[in-house]
Amino acid sequence: MTRTKRGRGMAASWYGIARTATIDRAGAWAELDDGGTAKIVTGVTEIGEGILTVLAQVAADELGIRPEDVTIGDNDTARSPEAAHAGATRQTYMIGNSVALASREARNVLFEQIADHWEVEADQLRAFNGEIWALETNLRISMSDAVAICKGRGVVPLGSASFTAHGTGLDPVDGRGAPWQAYVFGTQVAEVEVDTYTGEVQVLGIWAAHDVGRAINPRGVEGQIEGGVVQGLGQALMEEYITVDGHTTTHGFAKYILPTSLDVPQINCVIVEDPDPESPLQAKGIGEPALVPTAPAIMNAIYDAIGVRIKSLPATPEKILKALREHSSDRQMIANANREERARLHERSAT
């Protein structure tokens, strides 16, 4: 018997976007500012996922300027419109769409003024990357000049918007309800190597395919998947907050073991885009869904490698070794059970 054994497993998953089984809402203000820059104010703060960059991209795209020209105001209940919480895989969906709508409104104010100034129709106007032009004409100026013209005509290009996601509550008896308007799906494959002497499991590869609706920043999406996978790996193999009679025995990172650089598999991301029909941006989300299938994919891979099914997380070396010790008799039992099962199936098909 070779000491190390390899195997592969997979798991699928699904997830809902934004707050669950309730209506969700987010507001934003937008202003096209001097120099062709913009101010966006909304109740959002980066929790690490890259939302500020996503919002700057969204605003820039709607306003016809560059992301680095967008200033996003601080999240402050006294100074910015409500956009509620940073969680529930809702920031790109809820705040992204409200910023898109607010920016669109500010741009339309500008377009109206410039169309009038140029004596063209507003729907002939396009703006991108710091320039504005009118289709089928030679008219083209910088967004900086356009804002100056607009303001010279006495108008500040402003917009505001509120975006709603229509989740409904669950029936208290049978749970019937439409908790989300957008769903995402994911599938991951894991490849593991199990050391049958030490019980140690290494995850060597993860293939993670996730639907995100529309990837606003693909690199950011990958970052979320990679982070989610490694948190999932931690939960699968090593992390455990332990209490004894309510007192923790894992009171620091020396006892509470986290994945480090040496534990990380090669993570191969596949971004699938199934656009959301219910929202202007068509994007959905990835923050939470990324880690849902990781642990079951790893457990299924461990089974493939050594024929031991871990049903109680985490799959520590101790658990693996214990299961391996019971393995041979176990295997015998499984084989017998399978044979009986097949016999039963056969009987049924015969009757």
């Binding site: 592969r8 497993g9 998953s13 699904w14 669950t20 089984a21 109740g43 703060t45 929790i47 996922e49 500020l52 700057a56 969204v58 795209d61 999240n75 209940t77 409500e82 940073a86 669950l170 749970g175 309800g177 439409a178 908790p179 769903y183 799906f185 599938t187 050391d195 019980g199 060597l204 590869g205 529309r214 920043n217 950011g220 990958e222 970052g223 982070g227 989610g228 948190q231 939960q235 455990e240 907050y241 009679d245 309510g246 007192h247 894992t250 620091g252 509470y256 480090t260 650089s261 040496l262 534990d263 598999p265 090669q266 219910e278 923050g287 849902v292 299938p293 089974y303 997380l313 070794l321």
Partner: protein, 641 residues
């Protein structure tokens, strides 16, 4: 406090300062020199966020007494590049998107810099080893490796410096374009101020007295001696709450500080605001609390038994929330099944382990607005709750969200902002509270540990005819997000499969364990771990490929979900195809076929670490004060073997 005079060269400038003798190098840098790019993630040498160079050697500044660095040459994250510039390592982190919350990033940049200074040609294995003492909870390390490899190629002269500035060409839209993270430059240089990095004039430091008992009645609290101490500005307890005490994401069952009884170890009982941290800590030891210990409840199943201790009077059966989902007729579904599988699954309690421990600042402004700055994930809801608690109109309460050094759901609970507000109101001075790692671990919510009993009926062709799913979760001492977590777990329970007949129940109960709350996936992970294990067990029994059995049952457009919502879109078919193709999956039933598979060990996997290499890594890591989860596990397993 005894003082000492320190002389050092810090970031090429001579520094001469008088400071307290007890200070560690990290304190001296952060408090005396305002070099807050050096972060304190653990204070115990285990996370690497505090890494600096001392005489050219990478050290963890939380482990070094400041006095020991006297006369040394110190380099911190702020000193790597001139203001406005970035080093190749910092540029590479910016380019690849290697920073997310950013809290680990100064330490990571220091470790990566050390790696390339010592070996400008370091390969990926060496890079991984040298970063082994630095924890990142956000990125999964992958983009960090990519950044260090790019920086290496530039430093080693294998690639022109220009690659660090190159980006892919812009197409017709910024949507779908890999715009570099706008917040990265402030994170890779350590310039971004998190709540613990903020300083306001005249600011007090808060410390919290926490319960040593899991379940006890508070007979009395005597704060008089602490209050009389020099340097103590105020002591607060539940008695200082002017309004209706109670917070929680769903049910408001948790007081700002323990009221009448404590329900878990680490629960806040009283807090002190003082001129400095040391005085605040000393004052804690002068607070006298008399407890009458009550029988504790530490197991979710025990919680449901008649006669179990009652944790909250409003919930005599200890149930926080039960969510039922019913569809079709399960009895009929099982009767139609050719195969019935039944099993149990469990998941453990998990810590968020964001690298930034909880921190915050509160003050009362000139308009009498009580203002709290903290990395809260839900300032809107916190404002509503705090207004009731301190009996103020809602526009007299202001929450400002500071940059969040990792949250993952763990910063949705208002577990300390109320204490800060009360102390600011009582003193009319700014007050700051920074948790230690140990405090964060015992006082903040965790992922719900869960037990699932599962029954699945299938036809011979792989179609699921019925599922019975019952989950019991330990919610711990307070409700926090338990209700929502149970709801999401129930909705997602049986996975992305259209199942005609199902009976799902999820329950969370109160115990005297550390509370469980929101954690990335909000119950979805625990539920689907069970479902996806069952799917493979069913596939084995029915001799089906795991992708195949999922395709047979998958939700499609128009499918009715478990809560009987008709889906307008569904992409499971495409993600299954994508994962199968990308992984070059070899078809076959999951019957322990690892030994014969032909799709293993491809170019898209990493090399396995050999045990020897890992022990070597651990030894050299130990020399450097480093540690890795992998080698820790190896030790454990050897003990067992």
């Amino acid at each position: 406090m005894p003082k000492m005079k320190l002389e050092m060269e810090v970031n090429n400038r001579k520094v001469v300062k008088e400071t307290d003798t007890h200070k560690r190098l990290i304190d001296f840098l952060r408090e005396d020199l305002n070099l807050t790019g050096t972060k304190e993630g653990c204070g115990a040498g285990e996370c690497g966020t505090c890494s600096v160079f001392v005489d050219g050697k990478l050290v963890k500044s939380c482990l070094m007494p400041a006095a020991k660095a006297n006369g040394a040459k110190i380099e911190t994250i702020e000193g790597l590049a001139k203001p406005g510039e970035l080093t190749p390592v910092q540029k590479a982190f910016h380019k690849t998107g290697a920073s997310q919350c950013g809290y680990c990033i100064p330490g990571m940049v220091m470790a990566a810099t050390a790696c390339l200074r010592e070996n400008p040609k370091a390969g990926i294995e060496e890079i991984k080893e040298r970063l082994g003492g630095n924890i990142c909870r956000c990125t999964g390390y992958t983009k960090i490796f990519e950044a260090v490899e790019i920086a290496r190629s530039v430093v080693a002269g294998e690639a022109p410096a220009g690659v660090l500035d190159e980006d892919e060409p812009l197409g017709e839209s910024y949507i779908g374009h890999n715009v570099r993270r706008l917040d990265a430059p402030s994170k890779v240089t350590g310039r971004l101020k998190y709540a613990a990095d903020m300083k306001l004039p005249d600011m007090l430091q808060m410390q919290v007295l926490r319960s040593p008992h899991a379940h006890a009645r508070i007979v009395s609290i005597d704060t008089s001696e602490a209050e009389a101490m020099d340097g103590v500005a105020c002591v607060i307890t539940a008695d200082d709450v002017p309004g209706k005490d109670g917070f929680g994401v769903f049910v408001h069952d948790q007081p700002i500080m323990a009221r009448g009884k404590v329900r878990h170890v680490g629960e806040a009982v009283a807090a002190v605001a003082a001129e400095d941290l040391v005085t605040a800590r000393r004052a804690l030891s002068k607070i006298k609390v008399e407890y009458e210990v009550l029988p504790g409840l530490f197991d979710a199943e025990e919680a449901l038994k008649p006669g179990a201790p009652v944790i909250h009077d409003y919930a005599p059966g200890n149930v926080v929330k039960h969510i039922p989902v019913r569809k079709g007729d399960v009895e009929k579904g099982f009767a139609e099944a050719d195969l019935i599988l039944e099993d149990d699954f469990s998941t453990q309690q998990v810590e968020h382990a964001y690298l930034e421990p909880e921190a915050g600042v509160a003050y009362v402004d000139a308009d009498d607005v009580v203002t709290v700055i903290s990395p809260s994930q839900n300032i809107t809801h916190h404002r509503h709750m705090l207004a009731d608690i301190i009996a103020k109109p809602i526009n007299k309460v202001r929450f400002i969200m500071s940059p969040v050094g990792g949250g993952f759901g763990g910063k949705e609970d208002m577990i300390y902002q109320g204490m800060l507000a009360l102390a600011a109101m009582k003193t009319h001075r700014p007050v700051q509270l920074n948790f230690t790692r140990e405090e964060s671990l015992i006082a903040s919510a965790k992922r719900h540990p869960s037990r699932v009993h599962y029954r699945m009926g299938l036809k011979r062709d792989g179609r699921i005819t019925a599922v019975e799913f019952s989950m019991l979760s330990d919610g711990g001492a307070y409700g926090m997000s338990s209700e929502g977590v149970m709801r999401k777990a129930a909705i997602l329970s049986c996975g992305p499969y259209e199942i005609e007949n199902l009976k799902v129940d999820t329950r969370a109960v109160y115990t005297n364990n550390t509370p469980s709350g929101a954690f990335r996936t909000f119950g979805g992970m625990q539920a689907q771990f069970a479902t996806e294990s069952m799917m493979d067990m069913a596939a084995e029994a029915l001799d089906l490929d795991p992708f195949e059995i999922r395709r047979i049952n998958m939700m499609k457009i128009g499918s009715l979900t478990h809560t009987q919502q008709a889906l307008k879109t569904a992409s499971l078919d495409r993600v299954l195809d994508a994962a199968e193709k990308a992984s070059r999956w070899e078809k076959g039933a999951p019957k322990v076929r690892g030994a014969t598979r032909q799709d293993l060990d491809g170019p898209d996997t990493r090399k396995s670490c050999t045990l020897g290499a890992r022990i070597a890594a651990e030894v050299s890591g130990a020399e450097k004060g480093q540690r890795s989860g992998a080698s820790e596990k190896t030790k454990d397993s050897e003990r067992v073997a």
